[in-house]
Symmetry: D2
Subunit: 416 residues, 4 copies
């Protein structure tokens, strides 16, 4: 091939099928790449389609385990959350996909990688920053940022016409009035009718979770065990006991989905400075993260927790959201996450019901930071209550000065 | 009176009745002080009891409005939360109570204030740090930290005996196996059987909120309007429209209580370094805070939000939790809260159902940071998609160096 | 003019003279703009040159006062510093220059502004982000990022040839082997021979400050007074008393320059992700900032200071460095700076000597946070030393648990 | 002995000699403990005196190496500084002293440790928090916080009388009008005449460093090499090449002392909430820390540095200052320090002159984050200048909205 090989992230849908054809038209040899991160997809049909359109090869890479173990688990361990609400479900999958795509590109000797991300979103940034860190010399072909391409294909109809002219089969299913991105942890919905932030998500949009109003009328209880901050066992009457990370995660999903846990609807700030409205469902991860937070209450030192909350959790979420997983700072922060989780060992008794997750108890066999008798209001124990007098007095030294200064300035703190 | 006047925070219960008597025995004149922060209480009966025991006066101060306007509203405006879970319901009431108690003490010429807080908790610290800032010269009498007192009254029975011997009437109601603290925003449950962190809260414990499993089967929708980050209007089919802060807050409570919203169960880190288990219900505040967070997504600049989240919210919660409301740093932070909220104007459409609060839409008539057509994936608009190429390239400069350094050290980021 | 008016930031040097000519060649009408921020420059000669080349107008705007009052003073008030070393001398001047240039552009009806910044530096980013905030509709012409321009003018010789062909007079002075940027606060040196980070700055490079080894052999003392964190009076035997901000700042410069104070040599991280080596001299600002820090020790509450140091100072410096002065976050932070400085009232006795600035004493007539007798180790005063026992005991609760956990795990903290 | 053994931190001075006698009077057996952290002291004479007074044993522990390697070196690696000025010289020595004292106490079977710290300072807190973490069951006897003791010994004369009555020899040297604390890294001066923050430090007070005005007239150059952020080699014409940590540190001291580098004079905020004035000299550490900061500019990733500066450096300094070295949070932070320093490999060319330390060049043989040709303003290299246009445009999206909102509200950012 005159112009060399390109590894294209392919989904089987209209956009990437047209891009595949377009790259062939432009004289590239195309290697199609599909990442299995747990989304519902007919991978074989898509592969056949890619080959039929003209891809030289089509790789389907099963990344589910590494997605859970390398991305979702650290996110649980640091309680990652973006802008107080979003659990980063889409962002978490991008690093494993980009890494596998570069691996295929390297194996196949591709000089470039390509993708079908739009020019205003976060995903283009996440994929490409990962590509450049993973292989600094790689070239990226992003058709939706190429004026030649986007001026030619101004809407879905232009793509449909092009597909027809090129004999690319198009699934007859009517396109949904929003776009979706799914993986094992999460499904996102945005664009289309959701662009009006005051249009409520239609009930039939949600795919992964039961409608809470139709969820079982009985709460369902289960127990989650953690070691060094990572989930190691899920015990459920209905689902049995799971210890393998993938099994455990999928079972958490099963329970959360059944009870409609994990739906959110937000307006968030994209890396490129635009605001965007998204509806997300993140069933199992929502429960695992909340249970983890609970266990930290029992087993983690207050000051480590405060430092971790304010710096590590905040920075980790921002870094992941912005697509900076393969970066010096993520590597740096992950050391801190690990160091913070040494004592997060124990179990949390959990409940799912009608969209709500709650904790109903927790214990640790190994960590002793919580001491019933010591905390007890009814026992004196080893503790001298009068010590607190000194503690208060010393803490009051600075405040008394504040009060006196206020008095002198005639700005009484007391209301009369 | 030989030993001077003491202003005692009085509740009408066994502890503070015995303390009142004890202070009289010790030769003090006692001014009883009761704060109405919205707790369920027979204030008149308590007042009569205080006077009957021997208090010279009994003040009942209605602090509900200032509690909501001066404490709960700023907490909403900065999304205050302690250790990811606790909305500070108890902590928020302490400053207004301490301030009113000092005002009474000053009016009555008391040289000291007294309270019935235990020696291991946060509340003694919160009250006393406030007292010392409000009136640096005040003396504090804390019987539960006085060995003479606590060695004499080692348990409830000692108090009952003492009450009997002093003809102090004791309510016959059997004491509950936990202790409670209630105000307009919140009710807390701790100690007693709850000290085992793995003992689930009994269903009949919760006082303010319906059991979610018995809550209505139909979701209830309502709309919250905010100006400069503060709630200014609640619109509800069932409850009507409320604009007065107290009305609005109480109506939010009514809706949340009906649907069982706002229960949590945690192990938290007290200021004095002990861990403690608490069950809290915070109905209306939970919803108001969540709606406020949602509106910030639509109306607040990304970078102000990030600075506010990481520094102001974090520090404000810690300061309130630790009882440092009357402090230079709280004053300083409140300036930042106000500055951050200028653009938080708009409305949020909300839903309560079976313990869960969710947002189903939001809009702003005045703030234009969100722009549908600009954010739209389907429109090019004013935006040049190719600009993002440069944005990514420049952000990748540092990452390519990282990737190259990894390659040179033989630590490939790619998995093969 | 067919292609409209452009307002060009003009310096009179070779680069911007060629750009002026180039813009005329391209068919634009050019309004030349020169900002006087205190740099040594023959503004009249430059103006004549601009008009001779063909500018329709040449504005010379005196921005010295606003530069000091609006930029340098807030920087002093928050102790702004980038990467522990750099006082932001260049960054601080950019906002006033950009603002004045946009004002001229608006007055003259220009559709675009232009500048001669290179394509790898921070200044292009700082100017243009300011332009876009100040007038979102403005167009920017940046020749050094235009391939047509930079491929045509690959080096100084190409510019010299072009200038000769266009009869643009070129100053005969041999170009220095580095580039400089000067203003009232600072002079920077970078590029050229300085690009090797191990090449020491030549002694004859430094322009604003005396060589410390040749500075006076006697230290020089002076006193700086601050109100609300801003310098309000400088008292010097040699220089007299100054209260006007510009006079005061210039006098601080005079003293610092005489004694060689304020030189640094660093490798810093640019916004665009490259590292760059710079030598900077910032005479007066170095002393004013250090004196301000000292006074905060005496007059500022510990916790406000800690919050300000960690968040406000850090963020303000980053924002200024990256060119985000005209931004929501800078406005937000400036509210915090003001709030933090209420008590920073007093005076600092200072000394300059052979490159070193030091503080030899300080006092405040109004702030009473420091109390000699209270701090005195020799007096008991109002303070109960035994209170500290309780303070230590309570702080030790958490640490004893840490020690016990270590013991139980056999990881003794003690070395034997 | 009826009342058991106490291990007393002994200095040979008047205070601790009287305390030793007092403890004996009280019926304790006393083990004297002296820590050699590099202070100038006649340890043998002090030991003889302790034994003569009645100590059963006197231990002299040489802690110089562990002080440098375990405390000073991590402090350099994270650029530790308290309140922008203080290098923590005293705080850094406390952990090794407390640890060695507990080791002696354990070896000797002491039930308690004792010290002569005053009741208002930081050192009592630092020692005791360390004691409690190191051995949670230890008792602490702090005579200066015991009313019986401090009411009996109200001033120096009471101690002198007591010493005379007990035949304790007192050095005839007249007491200095300030108190000092010295170690290998630092000497502090406070109290006495220094309590007036406007009294300048007398020139004859400074002990460790030459008066800058009397320091050599020629600058002295030397080179410091670092590996993973730690000093590994000092090369000096005058002093030779040093690689052993103690030799290297002492040589840095020698050079800095000769040139009067490292004096400061500040008012700082103590842990207990009082302000206090201190004069400190920290010769070698000042230079080692500054050189380390410089090398980070060349070799450390920007984002790791920003995270480290804002969180790790800030928290580490506060923790050390407050005496929380033996704590979960310090252990946690030290992991982050190590992780941040992987790339801090290279050398810094340094200069000392008349109180001033400066950097005159730096290089790294292994780290390639700085790239001369890439950073060069004169070369295009691998970089596309037009990429910056996109970078600026995307960063401007948010700022244009800000500008538009300002315009709409009639709050123009432009001055006319």
């Amino acid at each position: 091939m005159a112009k060399g090989k390109v590894c294209l992230a392919y989904s089987g849908g209209l956009d990437t099928s047209c891009i595949l054809q377009y790259l062939l038209d432009e004289g590239y040899e195309v290697i199609a790449f599909m990442a299995d991160v747990g989304q519902e997809e007919d991978f074989q049909a898509a592969k056949e389609k890619a080959l039929k359109i003209g891809a030289s090869q089509c790789y389907i890479e099963d990344l589910r385990r590494e997605f859970i173990e390398e991305l979702c688990y650290p996110a649980i361990a640091c309680n990652a959350i973006y802008e107080s609400v979003y659990l980063l479900g889409t962002s978490l999958a991008r690093p494993v996909i980009a890494r596998a795509q570069i691996a295929v590109a390297q194996k196949e000797g591709c000089f470039a990688v390509s993708h079908g991300c739009t020019g205003k979103g976060n995903d283009q940034v996440r994929f490409e920053l990962a590509f450049y860190a993973l292989q600094p010399s790689i070239k990226v072909i992003a058709p939706w940022r190429d004026p030649v391409f986007y001026n030619r294909f101004k809407g879905r109809n232009d793509l449909l016409d092009y597909a027809a002219s090129k004999h690319i089969p198009v699934t007859s299913t009517k396109s949904k009035p929003w776009s979706m991105d799914e993986n094992l942890a999460h499904c996102s919905y945005e664009a289309g009718i959701l662009e009006d932030p005051n249009t409520s998500a239609p009930e039939d949009m949600w795919k992964l979770t039961a409608d809470p109003t139709k969820a079982p009328n009985e709460p369902e209880d289960f127990t989650l065990h953690f070691e060094k901050g990572l989930p190691v066992k899920l015990e459920s009457k209905q689902e049995g006991t799971k210890t393998d990370p993938v099994d455990l995660f999928l079972t958490a999903n099963t329970i959360a989905r059944r009870h409609g846990v994990g739906r959110i609807d937000i307006v968030e700030n994209r890396f490129i400075g635009l605001k965007s409205r998204g509806c997300y469902e993140t069933p199992g991860l929502t429960m695992l993260r909340s249970a983890h937070i609970d266990l930290e209450g029992l087993t983690m030192d207050r000051e480590i927790r405060a430092l971790r909350d304010q710096f590590v959790t905040f920075a980790y979420a921002k870094i992941l959201y912005n697509g900076l997983y393969f970066s010096p700072e993520r590597e740096f922060l992950e050391t801190s996450i690990t160091a913070s989780q040494k004592s997060v060992n124990g179990a949390v008794r959990c409940r799912a019901y009608k969209g709500m997750f709650s904790v109903v108890g927790r214990w640790s066999d190994t960590e002793k930071l919580y001491d019933e008798s010591e905390s007890s209001m009814d026992e004196i124990g080893d503790f001298q209550p009068q010590d607190t007098t000194g503690f208060i007095s010393v803490n009051a030294i600075r405040l008394k000065k504040y009060g006196k200064a206020k008095e002198e300035k005639g700005e009484s703190l007391v209301k009369h």
